[in-house]
């Protein structure tokens, strides 16, 4: 087994910061940094719901995800200029939306919508997980500003784990992610529940026991994320 490119221990998160208030206008916002990955997460409250929920006495939480063209090593095409969002973008924003809805009581929210915008300013792997972890804080801020903190039913954070040349490791950066044999994302709750789990064999299938090892890393890693989220909310 070789060392991780970053020199981190296999169960070590990247340096993390969650800075509230980056957006001047949003009801909730943080700039979350996980190593070289930086995502601006904002929560916007609107007093209307999508057509399929009108008059049902409940609210909605949804997410949109984007990446600035030069958040990456080589410039990517701007999706607004191409005229459509890629399948990857849609997949990620659907995941963020589902993950955050899992910790909100939509009836207690009342007939309004909260949109979580996660825009990647700098990318170095793990952008979807950082988005979820940051969006939870922005969501909690927004609910507080509405006087609806009671609608928040849980605490959700996400982290990626993978099988690399250094074995099973926590919180992959881009170098690790692009060469991993398997890549998993875990969205977990502070009380030990699973909100979403996704595992993909990139190169060859992996074994159930490897999957369990990755899961254990994720459980350790999200504990630290939950602490950071709480500090950001209190700060």
């Amino acid at each position: 087994m070789s060392q991780r490119p970053s020199g981190r221990a296999v169960d070590e998160l990247r340096p993390l910061s969650i800075e509230p208030g980056f957006s001047h206008h949003a009801e909730g916002s943080v700039l979350i940094r996980a190593g070289g990955t930086e995502v601006l997460c904002t929560a916007s409250v609107e007093t209307r719901v999508p057509p399929f929920l009108r008059g049902k006495g409940q609210g909605w939480v949804t997410a949109e995800y984007g990446m600035l063209p030069r958040a990456t090593h080589t410039r990517g095409l701007r999706e607004a200029a191409k005229g459509k969002q890629s399948g990857r973008t849609q997949e990620i924003q659907r995941l963020i939306g589902r993950s955050l809805r899992a910790c909100v009581d939509l009836k207690a929210l009342g007939e309004c919508s909260i949109t979580l915008d996660c825009d990647v300013l700098n990318a170095d792997g793990g952008t979807r997980c950082a988005s979820i972890t940051g969006a939870w804080v922005a969501l909690a801020q927004a609910l507080k500003s509405m006087g609806r903190s009671a609608a928040l039913t849980g605490q959700v954070a996400a982290v990626s784990c993978g099988l690399t040349k250094a074995g099973a490791v926590l919180d992959l950066d881009y170098d690790e992610d692009s060469t991993a044999q398997a890549d998993t994302n875990f969205v977990l709750t502070a009380d030990g529940g699973i909100v979403e789990v996704q595992g993909t064999a990139e190169d060859k299938p992996f074994r159930p026991e490897e999957f369990m090892e990755l899961f254990a890393l994720a459980q350790k890693g999200t504990k630290e994320l939950f602490d950071a989220q709480r500090k950001a909310l209190e700060g």
Copy 2:
């Protein structure tokens, strides 16, 4: 615990058939039926590769997914008429493509592409899993027709499992799927490997031990799918 709506045992697959040769022109094709779900899977060989692979001496396997407008209880809008594929469609076809690439040696394939089209003629839950299971057979047929069976490095099938009022159950139909507390899809190989695993809490987070129970059901269920795939290929 109540009974399943269909009366099936918790670890019982729906009646399954894999009928080869439905398409008149494709290099490989099956009509797979899992209960009321029917998917036409075709494999089309083309002697060119996408731009990013040109001149690299390897091939490509990709998938597209569609649902006829009236495959469902109420008619859905035709995606060609709307002018774009939904996020759900893109997510599913990306999953099918990844899953099938996991069992092909792209270098052994040579510089050509195989497109797996999975079109749902009738839907009753589990269409993405049926698509993967059927597409594997169509892919194997196509590789055989090209004299490249050696490029097939494994056998892949998929099944959904979920937490319902009847507990953890195998192979959800639409009734179960739309009310399940958690929904998981497992793409496994015949030698026990994991190609892809996706678990989503629909209502409230689920526990790690519940996840393991669903995994065990999937392992049992895919065994039967692997047998049916082999019979369809031999038949």
Copy 3:
């Protein structure tokens, strides 16, 4: 004059079958087979009308047409992936819609819509004519299921005829269609009326008397189609 590639007599239809009930959910459905051409036709009833008809006390009948990517010899691009329907697709679905509206009393239908989806599973020429012939049966089934059979004012079927090396022939298959000097489509009613006629010189202009010959073939051919439609409805 040479023989037809298929060995058929010049006034001989391809083997025809109209199988009802292929779709599990639609109010009307048939799988129509004309030689190697197979089209799934479904009729979907919805209790609303397009904006331009709201409050006018009448209904609407419309059609959509699609072709699975590998219905043809070489795989075609999926229109949903391209993001638009081709001119050919739109032309065909407009033709199907007009043809079927010609045999429905829209006032007697009441304020609801029937959408006829014609999806080509296998293509060997004549897909638009098979779509019309099959859609009429699905429409009749749907009207019956609504208790509105009285709104059906006529019986409509369609067939193509063309000038080939074997002279004027009935019901062209793909081989004939792609090399014909002239190609015509006739949509006729069981009582001898013309709903739609389209004739196109592919190579060089044709003579009025040749057109009359093609028309006579169509009159003979549709008689057999009308019988098959009635049998399918009764069966």
Copy 4:
């Protein structure tokens, strides 16, 4: 039988003029006026062919059709603003293209393209027929300017006929067109051939003998159109 709204005889064309040279830049152009219908037809020569014809030693003729937003009684949406061409537009431009290709020897044209743009400045029925009739003149001008008049193998013109309250009539204006029981378009050659024929029952099916009556009117009408085309070319 009542009179025609315009007072014209049943076999009388609308006042016709074909004015060459309206466009300052095009290799061929006319402004054709048929009563209140005015279409600007230009022929543009480009020294390249579509991908499917490259290196085949032949040329291509194609057409595009458009209508200014206020060519009609009430303003229509601009197709460029809507972001797509309607099915009707596509159907018409495909018809114009096919009709004009029928009178050009594409091999004699050589490896270049001629695009016929038909833009309706004022609409009063019969715009597709006026487009074809005018485009033939613009095409002939363009071929002459290229020194390729020999590639023009025939003379093509088009006229609509219909069944109205005044019986079978020639060259419908908007008032007649919008209330006709049947509407037909005939694209004919000066030597009596049929290039394209389209007949549509708008209200109820029509009889074969009615169709023949309409055809006879079209033969008479196009004779006058052929004369006008020749005069425009000579003038």
Copy 5:
């Protein structure tokens, strides 16, 4: 300093004509010709306003701009076929709309919309300025036809000026426009006000005193345009 390519004096407009009534249906219309530039401007009245103005007791004036594919030396792609309007088109139509709204009292207009369609039939530079100058006449006609002439609060016209090899010149044609060092457009009112001014350095920055020189030319040029507009309205 060299002469202008056209031989015009530096402060000389191109031959100008404003012909009313070109459109058969529009509430206002002119064909404006400035040298080789010809634009059909129509004003269409509709008794509804955009959503953001509903119920506010005021009207709206907007503009759309288009260019026929062969209005130019070489054929341009049809925007309706490309499926979107270019940035240039949008920029121009936004300019036309703003310019005309500057001379209408939207409250006095009442709850209705006037759309100004400016379609370039032949282009030789200065199409946006000709569009504004012509659209003002069409707008005045439409307001008169509605009995709302009082809502017209001013007279607006536009002209381009530029720095060329002949120095600062008025009313650039295409030859001058495509080689000018600087290009400016002035939208002015008859009482000496500025509605819009745009100046762009094409090659290298220009000096404030050069800008003033161009402005003076525009003031002279628009005086003649205002006279022509008034004549067209009276005529």
Copy 6:
């Protein structure tokens, strides 16, 4: 005359900062802040040019502009999700591109492209001017990193001025911008040249002498911007 809402003097810029290096990957980048307006400007170098410049021995400079959905008081729709860029966005990015091309010798740049992405993180008026001012610094950084500083032929900055209740004022914030009688943007060079000037009467036309007053403010304001740009480059 009333005071400015911010209490600033009429010729006072908002607090300005230009922070280099915000992007981890781009060849040049700054985060520019002008009061509450924050724009991330990146310069990306690519070793290819657009098709129309291939083989001409010169390079290209272009710009793209975007606004995060919640950069504004109320959340705007994401352009990538809508599937197209608004006319406003296209107008702004065309302006930025033109402005920056005016200070680059494209031949000295060689056959490569520099794309300037200007993404608004927080908006409070003047985003297009801040984008230009910031993009110039990012461009200079990128040229330096390529060893092509000689291709930079000038220094460009932009500022808005307007007529408000406080008279002619410099550097409008959102409150002033949304109620100004006239709004102008000046893109100037450090040696006193005009690159672009745009003036728009929002409410009623303005006088030439008012325009001159705004111009003088812009000349004063850009002097301070030029200093800040130089400091950011040196820092």
